[in-house]
Symmetry: C2
Subunit: 339 residues, 2 copies
DNA sequence: TACCATCGGTTAACCGTTGAAGCTCAGGAG
DNA sequence: CTCCTGAGCTTCAACGGTTAACCGATGGTA
């Protein structure tokens, strides 16, 4: 009836609790034969280690933490995080790790949670999202000694293991594609400018535009649909309005499409639109959005693997994910000749 | 340096560990004066109970579990869950409870997780989503004795505490609104028919249509955009095509809008569309979608409260949430007279 | 033969909290 | 004066693992 403990296994196998522990954890100290016998009994009894006892005894709990520094309201909208979490889960659950989720208003509280989780040995490691250019959290994690993986560029990860993709490659691909269509005035509705990857994208955008002799302008936003619409109106109201817009997330691109249509512009005839990140909604729109597509779930899988090996004491390695690639759809076309 | 334990507090206060435990947990057995002294010291030392030790000693861990029985791929799309999680978090974090998230392919695995979590005392309670008409999980939870709250109609909750809203009220509101506009042929793109709330909606839809003398037809789907598009094509291809469609989620409504437009139908002139659940994207579309709006975050908050009190041994109570209300937008209008 | 390393285990301490049981002391009843 | 009661603590044994330290047997080496 009650769940079996190592003591039950030990009794059954005629060995001590310690031997069982060694056998189950693949540690030396038991013969191969005894180990097999113990494992067979554990299996037959349906044994599962009690995570509380394990954590108490000093080993890490098989739990990883994820704190999302977003106000709860904006999160519902972001497909990115849900896909990321799906990917994390896919990897974690096969190794029977659990994911502890926490939403926090700001990065300061996030550090509090890390500290707390670690001291209460609630988690064995954590994932950090939305890296800032100079990120307090990275420093705090290092001095806590809490195993962590950053989801973001290594330049901002400050020595933490990180998983990232070459956003600059993708940016170049998008801009060159638009330039090849004949666009000369390309603008960008950027993300939160303090974030490390936004900075990288801005730099890449400026550089490639300069190289191709194009005018480049980035308007920063807070990633919300409202701000995306505002930025779109701002850019399209300028005297030399751009003929193509690149949006730093899909939500803003959708809002931008609607805004442009409200302003009487036809997409793609009057304005081309590229979305960064490709949610299923993008190809349900009218016209379907050309997007920079990447496998966010795969990101999550890699991040989870990286974290698990960091928790095993592996040195911090960076995983270089596949960069986002352009999926041309109906929202991009050559600009109408009107100059 | 190290985190203080109750032993540290006990030493400092000159009492035993037991006394400290009583004092911190508000149990009788210590004098009011000693309790105050102990609490002051605990506060000064920044004491936080070690969750592993607490869980091991039999008290429940301050963690609640949420298993989502969806294949990871479809989840990224559903704004519903993210908003629900936001709401849960909002309430849980103020009481310093954590949320353990697990995605499972099917309900069977979900039961395994409940069993595991409970036996490992990882969680103190769980939330159950997507109730089926006859739900195995409910039975399993009851016999486990694991505190749980169902998010769904009490008729399917089998005695578990539940949080729900009157979907039939909302359905009546939507159909009466369309009927008042002059629609006579209304069809519905429904959700997964095994789910309890889908069944309730179907019943309500059939009843109100019968009462108003309208033709009613529901096509079940798996909630995905693709299936929503398929159902839309099916319904619009029928000889007496409906002049209004009600979709059981926002994703399918978006897909339906696109599908209708591809078929050469103008919305709302040729076809009116109502979406159940109102994500921010709904009013970014062209035309913006008329939707049944409800505060999903508030659902989450209530669910969390209900669960915490169930974990305190409170009897199962049902919370009756505010039903979804119609937000008329551009996707609904009187039907063109063509008969 | 004496010494030592290795293997395969056992033993017991330990992690921090809980709570039952036991102890002490003061006050009231008989 | 003795007995009983109960408040207020202390003591101690779980809870279920992990792990350092120890131990006996075996085998190789000087």
């Amino acid at each position: 009836m009650k769940r079996p403990t190592i003591a039950d296994i030990a009794r059954e196998a005629g060995v001590s609790k310690g031997a069982v522990s060694y056998a189950l954890n693949g540690q030396p100290g038991v013969s191969e034969e005894t180990r097999r016998r113990i494992l067979a009994i554990a299996d037959r009894l349906g044994f599962r280690a009690n995570s509380a006892a394990r954590a108490l005894a000093g080993a890490h709990a098989k739990v990883v933490g994820l704190a999302l520094p977003r106000p709860p309201a904006t999160l519902g909208v972001e497909p990115f995080f849900m896909e990321l979490i799906s990917g994390l889960e896919a990897e974690l659950s096969t190794r029977s790790y659990a994911l502890l989720l926490q939403m926090v208003p700001h990065e300061a509280e996030e550090i509090d949670f890390y500290r707390r989780w670690w001291s209460e040995s609630r988690v064995g490691g954590v994932l950090v999202c939305d890296l800032r250019v100079h990120d307090e959290r990275v420093r705090a994690l290092r001095e806590l000694g809490l195993p962590a993986v950053a989801i973001g560029p290594p330049s901002a990860a400050g020595g933490l293991a990180s998983i990232w993709s070459d956003d600059d490659v993708s940016m170049v691909e998008a801009v060159e594609y638009l330039a090849a269509l004949g666009h000369r005035r390309i603008a960008r509705v950027g993300g939160i400018s303090e974030l490390a990857h936004t900075a990288l994208r801005t730099k890449a955008f400026d550089e490639v535009c300069a190289r191709l002799g194009l005018s480049a302008r980035t308007v920063p936003t807070d990633y919300s649909a409202e701000d995306g619409a505002r930025a779109t109106r701002l850019l399209l109201g300028a005297p030399d309005r751009p003929t193509a817009l690149i949006y730093d997330n899909d939500i803003m691109a959708i809002a931008g499409l609607t805004t442009a249509q409200e302003l009487g512009l036809s997409v793609p005839a009057d304005l081309s639109i590229v979305a960064w990140d490709d949610s299923p909604i993008c190809h349900l729109l009218h016209p379907p959005l050309t997007a920079l597509t990447r496998d966010i779930g795969a990101y999550g899988v890699h991040a989870a693997r990286l974290l698990l090996s960091a928790m095993d004491g592996a040195p911090a390695g960076d995983v270089h994910g596949e960069p986002a690639h352009l999926t041309p759809r109906g929202s991009t076309a050559p600009p109408m000749v009107e100059m």
